[in-house]
């Protein structure tokens, strides 16, 4: 419904650039309504062609809704120029250089063009983050309308949040679980004695460590443990052993906290 409203709004621009002859599957969403509008404006008996166009629109709508959610976002049109994009994460229109409103169905992996896997190749995030900010950052859109500046603020914040979430292993793991609808209950008290004893001893060791050499030693040990449990998480997640995956996340949380303490002390 929202999309059709946008389409109606951009009718005037579409009318000047009508391409009705061979609508491609992606632009089908944009053009049929233009056909309807132009028909109603130019022809005096619009009923028959209107009905056909509506049926075509409905059909195309149904065809799209049966596809996966990834495809759904590929049929989005620019609010400004009506250019339709195939991209999964349509944040910025390259055609008219306008920033798009935030689409909640776009997830963080899509923003960076990454597969929804837990393992990430290092280094690629930073570059892509900077590229996005060059296009989306609010400081660069002073000449644009208030509406677009608001979009810029929202999109830029989302991209920053996405980068932050995906960079750290723990937050990435939690995000993956969330995407799969497995919310981790953070309120429940942990009572696993072995885990807690280990963490207690670790924190005591950190508190008692006197020099930075000792702290660095502990830190590398903890980093190693983090990596180990991170791999374990990936394994459990892939095999759909979600309870085990949650346990891995718990451990990782504790190790991360320990790392923070070490950094504070150093």
């Amino acid at each position: 419904m929202n999309k059709t409203k946008k389409l109606v709004a951009s009718i005037s621009t579409l009318l000047t650039r009508r391409r009705i002859s061979h609508p491609s599957s992606s632009s089908l969403r944009c053009n049929p309504l233009a056909t309807i509008a132009s028909n109603s404006q130019t022809d005096l008996n619009p009923v028959k062609p209107l009905a056909v166009s509506i049926r075509r629109l409905q059909f195309s709508g149904r065809a799209f809704s049966s596809e996966s959610s990834d495809k759904r976002s590929s049929s989005v049109c620019c609010w400004n120029c009506g250019f339709s994009s195939e991209k999964a994460a349509f944040l910025f229109c390259d055609s008219c250089r306008s920033i798009q409103p935030v689409d909640d169905s776009v997830d963080y992996f899509q923003i960076f063009g990454l597969e929804k896997k837990y393992e990430l190749e290092g280094g690629s995030l930073e570059g892509k983050y900077k590229d996005w900010q060059k296009k989306l950052h609010p400081d660069l859109v002073h000449n644009k309308s208030q509406k677009e500046r608001d979009y810029a603020a929202d999109q830029s914040a989302k991209v920053t949040e996405a980068c932050r979430t995906l960079t750290k292993r723990l937050s990435r793991a939690m995000y993956k679980m969330k995407l799969n609808g497995k919310n981790i209950n953070e309120e429940e008290t942990v009572t696993d004695p072995t885990l807690l004893m280990e963490m207690m001893e670790l924190r005591e060791a950190i508190a008692e460590a006197d020099d930075s050499k000792e702290l660095n030693q502990i830190q590398s040990q903890v980093q190693e443990n983090l990596k180990q449990w991170s791999d374990s998480f990936a394994d459990n997640f892939e095999s759909q052993r979600f309870d085990e995956a949650v346990k891995c996340i718990r451990r990782m949380t504790y190790y991360e906290k320990a790392c923070e303490e070490i950094v504070k002390k150093l």
Binding site: I184, N185, E186, E187, E188, T189, V190, T191, D192, P193, L195, L196, M197, M199, M200, R203, I206, A207, E208, R250, T253, Y254, E256, K257, A258, E261, K264, K265
Partner: protein
């Protein structure tokens, strides 16, 4: 001075610089919390193999805090005669466990099981974001009592 240093170390605090900073712009820690932080009561450990000792070890998954609360029970009367705690976490968590050790002393085990996290939170004027710390303290008390009871069953059974 040395005792305070030792206490601070036990609490996982090393220097004055790690004094808790404000939770929000206008909110700071309540004076009760600061009091427990500066003058920690009952920091330390009992021997957990001691049959009169019950040990409660709990953790908060969200923030990675660990809390250990130990009670020493008079076997004849079932009253808690002493308590110790060791907490690694934020100021609110430390204060909550400190308050818990104060409140359990001199009470019967069944009575301490009725201590509610809301009472601890109210005493420390904990903001909503720190309510889970008081919950952790309540869980620690329950865990300590449970541990003691289980030990008793084992020794009596054996």
């Amino acid at each position: 001075m040395m005792i305070r240093q030792a206490a601070k170390k036990a609490l996982g605090i090393t220097s004055r610089q790690s004094t808790p900073c404000s939770v929000g712009i206008f909110r700071s820690y309540h004076e009760n919390v600061i009091d427990h932080y500066d003058n920690p009561r009952n920091v330390g450990s009992f021997d957990k193999n001691d049959p009169t000792v019950g040990t409660g070890l709990v953790g908060a998954p969200a923030c990675g805090d660990v809390m250990k609360l130990q009670i020493k029970v008079d076997e004849k009367t079932g009253q808690i005669i002493d308590a110790r705690f060791k907490t690694f976490g934020c100021g609110s968590a430390i204060a909550s466990s400190s308050v818990a050790t104060e409140w359990v002393k001199g009470k019967a085990m069944e009575e301490v099981l009725t201590i509610k996290n809301t009472e601890i939170a109210k005493h420390l004027s904990l903001p909503p974001v720190k309510l889970h710390c008081s919950m952790l303290a309540e869980d620690a008390i329950k865990a300590a009592v449970k541990d003691y009871k289980e030990k008793r069953v084992k020794t009596n059974g054996a």
